[in-house]
């Protein structure tokens, strides 16, 4: 099949970017979306043009590195699917496909389709951990965790940190990402000690990074490759309120 591509090209962080048109013949419907981009790059290299830079690594939907906005949707037309797991059979012959980077104030574009998501790292380093040093851990079975809690914690912990939630949020809010980690650690018994500080510090860092407010449109859940529930955001709000309240009582 044949595709008309409109791809965002931007030299570096400071440069002004623009959409550039490309035509790609012989696209195989079994190709993954990223393999289609590989094919385009191969063609660009043959023509001595600069290939398109895009984020990708594991190509099996778990590392969270890939992610572009395809025809106005983060990770493309399929819901709950990473860009690398999207295949060209989802597109029609002769279709025009518009490819842009994830956009948000918290995610500056580095080059072409690559964005800087280090804000997520800083949110985690503000408190998204259990302060246990190597060697301090007690015997694993000394902390029973009910099946339901373990499963719920997993549901939150499954986040791959791709940033589609931010890209798809009209407010550029990182609430889903931040809340997933806060929730995972708020419900597990082994991470209760820092529960209040964790919530307050991570949320403060999230704000500092310039992410917007969550206005509960719930779009993030639909585009999230792991289908992380928006109820994590509710839980984050609860943790924030609880921590803010208990802080004064101290």
């Amino acid at each position: 099949m044949k595709l008309h591509l409109k791809i965002w090209r931007q030299k570096n962080r400071k440069a002004q970017g623009k959409l550039v048109n490309y035509t790609l013949e012989n696209v195989n419907p079994h190709m993954s979306f990223l393999e289609m981009l590989d094919t385009l790059n191969e063609q660009l290299i043959q023509n001595k043009e600069e290939p398109v830079e895009f984020d990708h690594d594991c190509r099996e939907g778990i590392c969270g590195q890939c992610g572009v906005v395809i025809n106005g949707n983060a990770h493309g037309p399929l819901e709950n699917t990473t860009t690398c797991q999207l295949h060209m059979r989802e597109f029609k012959d002769g279709e025009t496909v518009l490819i842009e980077p994830f956009r948000a104030k918290g995610f500056p574009v580095k080059k072409d389709l690559k964005v800087d998501r280090s804000a997520f790292d800083r949110i985690i380093s503000a408190g998204g951990y259990v302060s246990v040093n190597t060697g301090q851990a007690p015997e694993a079975n000394s902390i029973p965790v009910s099946h339901a809690i373990a499963e719920a914690a997993f549901d939150s912990a499954a986040c791959i940190g791709c940033g589609a939630c931010v890209a798809t949020c009209k407010n550029g809010s990182a609430a889903l990402f931040t809340s997933a980690k806060i929730t995972q650690l708020a419900i597990l018994p082994q991470s209760q000690e820092e529960r209040k500080e964790r919530a307050l510090n991570m949320i403060a860092q999230m704000d500092k990074e310039g992410f917007g407010h969550c206005s509960n449109t719930e779009a993030c859940e639909v585009e999230c490759p792991q289908g992380i529930s928006v109820l994590n955001i509710a839980r984050m709000n609860y943790e924030y309120n609880r921590a803010s309240f208990l802080k004064f009582k101290k």
Partner: protein, 639 residues
């Protein structure tokens, strides 16, 4: 050179205890004066960086990904082994040690393997304390599943994303240290070279992948935890960025490279569907519990799978290995598949796959039961192939997966360059010639959390008086100059072929001649072909763009340039090992039934290759003899 593995004296159970008892220590006040560089942020890299940071050392952590959490440990699905014996089914450290040693076809050190099993107990404790949501029973206690090659349930899991959850645990521990400023994080930085001063590892040269700037970083010790190089086959289950460059460049600075040809080829991956294909997605091995593997009896049969009658199907694993059937170990299943495909019985448009058929299981257990067990895998299969595997059999094929080989390290995980350590998949250590399922997460974590923090301290103990290492040393300048030159060379060639073209060619050569089966003739041919390919690469590759900007093609070019050198060494390694063991199967050395024939008299050693100084010379083989004091090598049989 005489290789000294520095294995502590004493009974097997006491070796590691004895080591820890007598290892030298660094006073807490002195630790912040000591710098350690850790390259790689997977399970091994993150855990060692975090652990050293907690102890108070000054750590710099590097990764080429945009954040440490993307390291490829994230992709491991099945689980992590530990001899906790929570299932009360007779598991013990000793039993796990024997299973691992046997699984590796007796080509690993007893002491290392025992330590791996021993430390597995602590790892589960550590991970649980970090908040890793392992699967639980309804009573709240940890659950286990069973995995290939063993008779006990010792695999801990977090659904099908165990690697991700373990990695996030260490990533969070790392980010905690970043927040405390004991660890400085350098993501989007790729190591270009190791700097050796007065025969000790003293620093690295890195390239900032966003700006192209070449940076110098000095330290008292350097840790490489850069993972495996299975991506050398181009089509593999690995991430696109996985590479062997860090360990290869360290090898060229004097670190020995052990058993480079031992690559695990995983039997249940999705087959290649076209030339454009960039990676082969792994389907969990657990599918083989209910799926039956077959090919048409007639070669070049083009009928649809469902139209081939039962009597015209060849369930070759059940036929050849009646005792284990479809559950035969990875290396054996992969080889059997290749044998059928090569004989013209392969299926699919490229005739490169075998069927994994669930129709019998669905008939017996019902579709709902199968969906409950494997629903997510069937969904993933449909997402990728567009085929409903409840209706027609899956097509699977073998794919390069894990490098058992890597930098040679002693018991302290130190390479032949003092001060240079290699952890996780980047070293060769514990898996022998074949890795058991769910042992890779274990080895990476144990190396990083529980072994290297002791052994690195032991090394650093006499480094306090050295003082700060300066990056002004001429060796740093020299390395920067060489690497800039190397990069500019690549950019100047301006040929007509893309980097991927060479990578694909190399991958094909390796699959054909240094893959599931090898022959002396094929390997000799491959060595010449790879050398020719390398020459052509330097004449005709086209690397677009500049150095001073983000340039993915340039990154790839550097990695493929190294692969073209590693590939030759792999072939030499396979060529000189005149036996079949584990993943290494030489067609000349097989029994009458076509099974691997190990030679314990002549090849009970680890091949540790020494860089001869230039590409023109043949690599130098050093041997570390393996001694089995506690377990006697036996022949594996799955009939």
């Amino acid at each position: 050179m005489k290789l000294d593995a520095k294995i502590p004296q004493g009974p097997l159970e006491e070796k590691w205890l004895n080591y820890k008892k007598t290892a030298r220590l660094v006073n807490p006040a002195n630790r912040k004066k000591l710098d350690v560089i850790v390259v790689g942020t997977g399970l091994a890299g993150s855990s060692v960086a975090a652990s050293l940071g907690e102890m108070g050392y000054n750590v710099k952590s590097f990764c080429f990904q945009d954040t440490p959490r993307r390291a490829h440990s994230v992709a491991a699905q099945g689980g992590v082994n530990a001899a906790k014996n929570y299932k009360n089914d007779g598991d013990s450290v000793y039993r796990m040690f024997v299973d691992t040693l046997k699984g590796g076809d007796f080509r690993a050190r007893e002491a290392n393997v025992y330590r791996l099993a021993e430390c597995s107990l602590n790892l589960i404790d550590q991970a649980v304390a970090q908040g890793v949501p392992f699967g639980r029973e309804y009573g709240g206690y940890l659950n286990n599943r069973s995995f290939g090659g063993v008779q006990v349930s010792r695999t801990f899991y977090a659904r099908g994303q165990t690697g991700q959850q373990l990695l996030l645990g260490t990533y969070q521990a790392l980010m905690r240290q970043v927040d405390k400023k004991t660890v400085a994080l350098y993501s989007s930085h790729e190591m270009l070279d190791l700097v050796v001063i007065d025969e000790r590892a003293r620093g690295i040269i890195v390239r900032n992948l966003e700006t192209g700037e070449i940076e110098k970083h000095a330290a008292h010790a350097v840790v490489l935890a850069t993972g495996g190089f299975g991506k050398i086959y181009y089509l593999s289950t690995l991430a696109m960025g996985c590479n062997g460059s860090a360990i290869w460049r360290a090898h060229k600075k004097g670190a020995f490279f052990a058993s480079p040809s031992w690559t695990q080829i995983h039997p249940t991956s999705l087959p290649q569907s076209g030339d454009y294909q960039s990676k082969l997605t792994l389907m969990s091995e657990s599918l083989r519990n209910d799926g039956r593997i077959w090919v048409p009896k007639k070669a070049e049969d083009t009928r649809e799978a469902n139209t081939i009658p039962e009597e015209e199907r060849d369930y070759y694993l059940e036929r050849r290995y009646p005792a284990f059937g479809n559950l035969a170990p990875r290396d054996i299943s992969s080889r059997a598949a290749k044998e059928r495909i090569d004989a013209g019985h392969g299926v699919g448009p490229l005739k490169n796959a075998v069927y994994l058929d669930f129709s019998k299981a669905i008939k017996e257990q019902g579709q709902a039961k199968i969906a409950e067990k494997y629903g997510n895998l069937f969904r993933m299969y449909e997402k990728i192939t567009g085929t409903n595997a409840y209706k027609e059999p899956m097509k699977i094929s073998p794919a390069a997966h894990f490098s058992m080989g890597g930098l040679w390290v002693d018991y302290e995980l130190m390479t032949t360059i003092p001060g240079l350590f290699a952890l996780g998949e980047a070293n060769f250590a514990d898996h022998g010639a074949n890795r058991l399922g769910a042992n890779s997460l274990l080895q990476a974590s144990v190396d990083g959390y529980f072994i290297a923090p002791y052994t690195i301290a032991n090394y650093l103990a006499d480094q306090i008086r050295t003082g700060k290492i300066s990056t002004d040393h001429p060796e740093f300048e020299k390395a920067v100059k060489e690497n800039k030159e190397k990069i500019n060379n690549l950019l100047r060639i301006k040929g007509s072929r893309s980097v991927d073209y060479y990578h694909k060619k190399l991958g094909k050569l390796l699959y054909d001649y240094c893959g599931l089966t090898r022959t002396a003739e094929g390997l000799t041919y491959a060595i010449e072909e790879i050398k020719k390919l390398r020459e052509e690469f330097y004449k005709n590759v086209y690397v677009p763009g500049e150095n001073d900007t983000m340039n993915a093609e340039l990154e790839k070019a550097g990695r493929v340039a190294d692969y073209l050198e590693i590939g030759v060494l792999m072939c030499y390694d396979a060529l000189t090992r005149n036996e079949s063991c584990g993943a290494h199967f030489r067609e000349e050395f097989q029994t009458e039934e076509g099974e691997a024939q190990r030679n314990d008299v002549d090849f009970q050693y680890i091949s540790a290759w020494e860089w001869p100084g230039s590409l023109e010379q043949e690599p130098i083989l050093n041997k570390e003899e393996l001694k089995f004091e506690f377990v006697q090598p036996t022949i594996r049989s799955y009939k």
